[in-house]
Assembly symmetry: D2
């Protein structure tokens, strides 16, 4: 960490300030006296140094981190890719690209089993479906909740596909014991109490980037889960909020190669939520694979116009089949192989 | 709700589509045939109509809401201002402007009581202080948690000031029974499970706008609390995230008069969190009052450089005293009177 | 155009308002009376109707366009792709993907000729290079200006590559007579006086999207050039400004397939300016091709660390060669063929 | 300037790099060797050092400016407020708050003279009106252009009010010789060729902040004008583009006190363009004065519903009269006095 002091700071103030920093952190402070400014450099583990309390000092002009504030998620310290392997060929990361597909909301047993069979036969390695639904309006469909989880389990029994579904509250963790991958939605990316509890769970967490969150904040939220003991985290880019209104959100495609360089965690892309229009899902899925994604989350509904949520962005099973077969062709061009179920 | 259909839609498709909408919603559909387009108008209560499932229809070009999707928060249906009155002169709304002051984090009994006494004597009507702290990094100070709430109660005993403090999880509600106003932070504005639970609580909820949330979404989150039974909601503008980096966030001052026209709920502004720099707190507090705010949340710390969080934006007790006395002068210019404790 | 009137508007007000609209525009107004609202529909050519003056009416609640406000750029009216063909194999659009490469700034005869030869031999179909440079600071290098154009001509003589270079003022058009493609930079996307003048020029214009401009505004700026007579416009996505600071800008990859569906004009992507970091240029170039781009603008410098501008994002000639050979492989996977010079 | 080098950089690389920087800039480089990183500090005038070419070095991890890159606009070097005084009481800055009022577009002699008389009698010290109009659509009204300037002169003759009007191209400067203050619109804030030419003009320039431009970029654009010789620059905050769509733009009220601390130049606010809705103009005008603005630009039209542009945000003369009389009361509360014409 580099601290620039205000012009006119005296040597005794520098000394007192340096001692104070050293007394509350495990670092050593070096001062460098310039013509117009004085710069302090902190040696040692400055990840825990509170940048805000340093900035609050009267004599401080500005502060700059040199080290990344995340450790467990940092590729510098863990160069090898983290791979999520749920058995039976459902693998994500480390050269394997997984298709995670299914409806926005679980609506009925018939619907979820029908979609599950279709996406499996087209090549999906995981089934997604929402039981607990975060909706902007309290008057909108809130999901089937616990019984939705039950229906997902039925679909898994019928198809073998591991299930991925979203959690909205720490109090619900007990209901998710039989879920394969727990998803944290964009609106809960900084629900830190939830993250801490998920750190105690022994299953992969799919963490979506918040609409207004930076890439560094996404990594810090992953760090919350990892610091609490669970190192199986999958990161998901699903669009950020910008001034552009033609698409629901703006897919930040640069986040994919950036994250792949900064962290060893796998990175998936959700083009369906990012754009909110089904006709753009295919080109964005291609772009995600080209940029280096380890997986794709694709919304598929057997009857999009009558979907209870997000129908506008859902593909039909036929459209998904066509997309999946193209992804199988494209992935190897970018050094990836599409995961496929051994039981297919 | 107005629905524009795609050119070339046939009359029988229009008929079938209209019947479908009427069958699942309590509305009547009228069709208007133009030269290049067909427009449908929905009569009745279209607030519950799911705009996304309408948009997903193959024949739909675009959809436009005419009615606001919020009801209980809507000033059209409740013209009179909601006033929060906690007794003893701690009033917010309806012409009364309240100062809510205190440290970012509760750090010790001595600290919180010292700050509480100072801010009370300067004119604050409420004491704020964080016990549960949402922090970007898992390695940063997370607040004193339950014991912080205990210290806030002590400070209330000593000063009489009602206490405002942030909740981070539905599971903690039991700990907040003795809190006067429960705050929902920006990161939890769309933590819908938390909002639903707070709708069952019988005390005011101070709801902060999320960093990437629109004004309409803020009102919809208030609606969640109100729809569940708790109509005592205070809205808070505290800055949104934009490309500008000189301030921590961008205070959306226009939100204040806009919210005052759209809703009957009181609106407060938190300039401290919006800018993140103490020297800008005063001019922004003035601007907030001029724009029509019903209250101000001001961070005050007895020793800002050694604050455990957010020191850079905290005022000293002396700076707060000066600010508060200016606000007392300024408020009447804009038709407001500053609340003050009867026991002062 | 659909106009929603305020509740309580009388029939005689509707009549008077409708007549006024019809009197100043070439449209016919139809009124539809709902329970809570009155909706007007405009038939005929409403592209010229001023949405702002309609919104200003006391009785108007809101206005919604149904037709796109752009005509000449609209694919609905010109389904076939516009192709830019400068001869000798330098083709862009209509299934041909072109690589446009070269340094950010033209710095010397030796530099530009050296880079031109390298990029040509690697497969570039166009040479780019800045002579007039828009720089944030008046103290930064402003480009070689007229003599830079001269050096670009020399490089064209030596290599045959058509040259693409940026204009900053209508007064300079006379200097650009011998340039092959005139570029309008992001900061000048809404320099309407410049656009009008470029509409009178008989050569292709490469129009970059502004940092805060919507996709519709980009199309309207193209429309300025086209409406003035020049229909050879190339659109360029080069990143928009968002809250994310790890990349210089946020490449809006969704803009590529969206633009391809909305307009017949070719769409190119400039990953170098979008991210500002050379290591991310390759994955983003791949993503752009996967999303359907008709061309790529890649900054290449013979000595990036000593470049007079934008060195951080420039590739070396060797890196470009590797990228170009990959693009030749990748393009056919997405239905494109890389343009190549006949004289190679 | 502080440069952080990558771990593993050798002492000889540091030496060679330092010598290179010193050879092309008027600075001295000091190196400080830490445990995990090496930090270089540049002494002397680093404003001209190109941060991008430094970042491009293979051995550089990151770069941080310590000095502001603007000099002539910097309050550190010119502590006293710049005051714009056009005689007859039309003063802006240095404790004087000026009202600049008039229609968005000049439409006819009758209209501009009518509005001018009204706003003068209500207390405006300057008349604004657009002759050259930047419009998103080429099919929208583009202004009366040169004849609009002529009409503004007539209005000045009748009222004595100095005129403020927007320029869109360097080629038009000759037409603006008789204008009192030349305005640069938001879309041209980084039209550097225009800024350079305005630096040679001997009259005040009112420079509006661009929709996606940072506060520092606004100051750098002012620096362009000042560096070319014209130090009479007025800065204008008029809203930035964010995700919020209820207002046309988001007024960045924090920019006002920030700019007042960073620069000696006067700062005005244009609430009309920022929000685009006339009912919000008054509270935002109050907020601007409370935050420390030196002036307000208010759109006033004698017949807003029939205005040829921006009617939705225009006040009627009566509404302006009411606003102006409130501003006269409010300004002294914030240490300002409203300028008024001696000839009133």
């Amino acid at each position: 960490m580099i601290i620039v002091l205000k012009p006119g700071t005296t040597r005794s103030e520098v000394k007192e300030f340096s001692s104070w920093i050293e007394s509350i952190n495990n670092v050593k402070v070096n001062a460098w006296y310039g013509e117009h400014s004085i710069v302090l450099g902190l040696l040692g583990d400055s990840a825990a140094v509170d940048i805000e309390s340093i900035s609050a000092q009267r004599i401080v002009e500005s502060v700059k981190r040199v080290q990344e504030p995340y450790k467990k998620a940092n590729r510098k310290f863990h160069p090898a890719d983290t791979v999520i392997d749920l058995g039976g060929g459902s693998i994500l990361g480390g050269g394997k690209l997984a298709l995670i597909a299914g409806p926005c909301s679980v609506e009925s047993e018939e619907q979820i089993i029908d979609v599950a069979k279709h996406v499996k036969s087209s090549g999906a390695a995981f089934l997604r479906g929402g039981a607990f639904k975060p909706r902007t309006s309290p008057y909108a469909f809130q999901g089937l909740r616990a019984s939705g989880l039950e229906l997902l389990r039925h679909a898994r029994e019928k198809t073998g596909l591991p299930i991925v579904t979203e959690i909205m509250s720490p109090g619900h963790i007990v209901l998710f014991e039989d879920v394969d991958i727990i998803q944290v939605g964009a609106r809960n990316m900084q629900n830190f109490e939830l993250l801490k509890e998920l750190g105690k769970v022994n299953k992969p967490i799919l963490l979506k980037r918040g609409l207004a969150n930076t890439i560094e904040e996404l990594l810090m939220s992953a760090e919350y889960i990892m610091a609490a003991g669970n190192e199986q985290v999958i990161l998901c880019e699903r669009g950020i909020r910008t001034f552009e209104t033609m698409t629901r959100n703006t897919l930040d495609i640069s986040a994919v190669p950036l994250l792949k360089s900064l962290t060893h965690l796998p990175v998936v892309v959700d083009p369906s939520h990012a754009v909110g229009v089904s006709t753009l899902v295919e080109p964005l899925a291609f772009a995600a694979v080209a940029a280096g994604a380890d997986g794709l989350i694709i919304e598929v509904h057997n009857d999009p116009p009558h979907a209870m949520s997000d129908g506008a962005q859902s593909l039909t099973p036929q459209q998904f089949k066509s997309l999946a077969s193209r992804i199988v062709e494209i992935a190897p061009v970018f050094g990836k192989e599409v995961s496929h179920r051994a039981d297919e």
